[in-house]
Point group: C2
Chain length 80, copies 2
């Protein structure tokens, strides 16, 4: 079972890293970039668990460690 976890900064929170990369893209001539936000992407390989168990376990991992839910949102997909 594989989980793909996406952690993104909440819309209301400033993303200075995204602003910096956007500036760099503009200076390279990519002026069509209107906004850019950066998040984290994690691929987790899970051992012997059912999809139902994985669902709850991955949610718990996100809440406890992978995302800072004060300033970040998370979502995940399970495969296989």
């Amino acid at each position: 079972m594989k989980a793909k976890v996406y952690v993104t900064i909440k819309q209301s929170v400033l993303d200075p890293q995204g602003v910096a990369v956007q500036g760099a893209l503009h200076s390279l001539g990519f002026n069509e970039v209107e906004s850019l936000r950066i998040g984290k992407y994690m691929e987790i390989e899970l051992g012997d668990v059912t999809k139902e168990e994985a669902e709850g376990r991955v949610k718990s991992m996100c809440e406890k460690l992978l995302a800072n839910t004060v300033v970040e949102d998370y979502r995940y997909e399970l495969e296989g």
Copy 2:
């Protein structure tokens, strides 16, 4: 037009950040985690471009700035 870009470390390259997070998950009791790799996820809002133009422009952004193609892979999706 919106682009979602995923930058991941190549399979043959060590991911010390992923190893550290995996260790932290184990110490929290998530022993079902067999491996974990961390990448970047970017959401880019593009101005007035067609899907065909966006395709080439986003590829070019990845090659020039967003991914270090020596040690990282990238993929992207276009929406809207």
